[in-house]
């Protein structure tokens, strides 16, 4: 007897874990009939979840945190059962700005400090930068990076929301100079010949939580067993995606008309990290461009939520310590551990860590004793200690 479960998502490469959970039968193995519903926008996806039209959602990590802080619309308490993906965003610029960046010497793809310095030198006025949503890792990474290189908001940059399917149009039409967006939309801009990619998100923060599996907190409480089945199905899909040998077929499934409706090779670029940077065809390999499994990638660290909470609080003028505490409570390592105990998942001993302190894979305490945490440094080598008082 399978139980229906409605899961909302946005048509993006990093929706792979929920798509694969359905298409390869991981949901069915858990007795779930996963009803995947593509949403037209992040705000609509959030509302569908908050107003009980769907049970779970593939969500931007900062959205449930912002809701817990009372920012932006509805404030229904949400819980993050799992991170779905780490990294996966890319910064791109218009042809005109790319030209100016070359004129000032440019920088390597992957060098956030150098690219930032080149942007400072090339900017003729406050840069207008498009992001998919006000509460997104795209926005957080941009603010963090550009503030550190000397382009603070709102003096140095103007960050505005542009729905990703309209990003290429906005950059072609001169409405924005740059964007930070999730795949496939950066590659689509390159493919249409209107923009160039200048930096992967992972160059700003090497291990940034990106999409999360969000449910209503009340639902997680009343539907505990169902939440466990969903979590296991999605975790197994992530493990499957963690095997590079599976990525070609994953790209083909995601590229289908019912999901991304794109050529498989464009989807493949993000999954394999082999990006094409410009219409001239230069390419670059980015290790861990987007990650679904290795190094406990899906573990919902409370410190990741605290980092997001601290960033949002500083911009919205909220009290920092209290905001970090509220944010931390949104990510649920307790549920992750309990529901994944017998699956072979790596379960870290701690629920929180100092973010940004690892510049190489490092062994960490876990139930299996085999966990290596991947590098998680910020480009400016600052660290974020969630327990430190300012």
């Amino acid at each position: 007897m399978t139980v229906p479960l409605a899961l909302g998502y946005i048509r993006l490469v990093d929706a792979a874990p929920v798509v694969i959970a359905r298409e390869l039968g991981f949901a069915e193995e858990e007795g779930l009939a996963l009803d995947l519903r593509a949403a037209p926008s992040w705000s609509t996806l959030r509302d569908l979840l908050a107003l009980e039209q769907i049970d779970a959602a593939h969500m931007l990590g900062p959205v449930p945190v912002a809701m817990a802080l009372g920012l932006g619309g509805l404030t229904t308490p949400l819980s993050v059962l799992s991170v779905l993906s780490v990294n996966g965003n890319v910064v791109g610029v218009s042809d005109a700005l790319a030209e100016r960046l070359r004129a000032v010497g440019g920088a390597d793809f992957g060098d956030a400090a150098g690219t930032g310095a080149a942007l400072v030198a090339a900017a003729e006025r406050p840069l207008r930068i498009g992001v998919p949503f006000p509460f997104s890792m795209h926005a957080e990474l941009l603010y963090y990076w550009l503030n550190a290189v000397g382009l603070p908001a709102p003096q140095g940059i103007s960050v505005r929301t542009v729905p990703p399917p309209l990003m290429a149009e906005a950059i072609a039409g001169g409405e924005i100079d740059a964007f930070c967006v999730g795949e496939p939309w950066g590659s689509v801009a390159v493919e249409q010949g209107v923009g160039e990619l200048i930096l992967p998100g992972s160059a700003i923060w090497a291990f940034a939580p990106e999409k999360v599996l969000a449910v209503r907190t009340a639902w997680a409480e009343t539907e505990d067993a169902l939440a466990g089945r969903l979590l296991r199905a999605v975790w197994r899909a992530g493990r499957w995606l963690g095997d590079p040998a599976h990525l070609t077929i994953a790209a083909e499934i995601l590229a289908r008309a019912e999901y991304l409706d794109l050529a498989p090779d464009i989807v493949d670029r993000a999954l394999t990290g082999r990006l094409i940077l410009s219409p001239r065809g230069e390419s670059r390999e980015v290790p861990a461009f987007v990650a679904f499994h290795a190094g406990a990638a899906t573990f919902p660290w409370r410190s990741q939520a605290a980092w997001i909470g601290a960033q949002l609080a500083s911009r919205a003028g909220l009290e920092r310590t209290e905001s970090m505490a509220k944010a931390s409570a949104v990510f649920r390592p307790d549920l992750y551990r309990r529901h994944l105990r017998d699956t072979g998942a790596e379960l870290p001993g701690a629920s929180s860590k100092v973010e940004g302190s690892l510049n190489r894979p490092t062994p960490a305490a876990s139930e299996s004793g085999r966990l290596f945490l991947p590098a998680d440094v910020f480009f400016d080598r600052r660290i974020f200690d969630p327990d430190e008082r300012e």
């Binding site: 705000s43 107003l51 920012l71 932006g72 998919p132 729905p163 911009r315």
Partner: protein, 194 residues
């Protein structure tokens, strides 16, 4: 007597926008303005300083309006997504009907309700019309594929049209599938073999 509520409708389709305006006019005295463009949406809304913004939840541009819910937005008055948490039922029926509303914080609920009621009724109608249109389109497509499958059977087996249809129906019944699905499979297979 207070000023009439100023309402902005974000809608690309002109006919739909006019229908919404008609519904709102019938519900009360409002100052209604339509924005149909995609670019500079947030700026344009902020410049109008409306009391209330109505937008189709199927529109990807909805996320642009979310910017106005931030304190640092160009709109001085903070905007919240409708509805006040106290009226969950109205919010839910709005979402189900496919309309979302953003209101200036502090606007009295009794001033918003008639607007929302009228908008919800109108969007429900859009929703029904879209569903009917899709059903008609689907039926047409199914008829086309069944006709092609019948043609293939008539040619391959030298039978008449009625017999071909009966064969499709029998196969569908014995396999517990829809006639259109059996026809589709046959057309696909024939395409591969030819």
């Amino acid at each position: 007597m207070s000023e009439p509520l100023s309402i902005v409708i974000v809608e690309e389709d002109r006919d739909r926008a006019l229908l919404i305006i008609d519904s709102l006019r019938a519900a009360g005295d409002f100052d209604v303005h339509v924005i149909s463009g995609r670019s500079g949406l947030a700026r344009e809304i902020a410049a109008r300083r409306p009391d209330l913004v109505l937008v189709d939840i199927a529109s990807p541009s909805r996320d642009v309006i979310e910017e106005l819910t931030l304190a640092s937005s160009p709109l001085e008055r903070p905007v919240a997504m409708f509805v006040d948490e106290s009226d969950g039922a109205l919010t839910r029926s709005a979402i189900e009907a496919g309309v979302s509303a953003y209101v200036v914080d502090g606007l009295r609920p009794e001033r918003i309700k008639p607007v929302l009621d009228a908008a919800i009724a109108r969007f429900q109608m859009f929703h029904r019309m879209r569903a009917e249109l899709e059903a008609t389109k689907r039926a047409l497509e199914e008829r086309k594929v069944i006709d092609r499958a019948k043609g293939l059977l008539m040619k391959a087996r030298g039978i008449g049209e009625d017999e071909a249809y009966a064969l499709l129906r029998k196969t569908a019944m014995s396999q517990g599938r829809k006639i259109a699905d059996v026809a589709e499979a046959l057309v696909t297979a024939a395409g591969l073999l030819s």
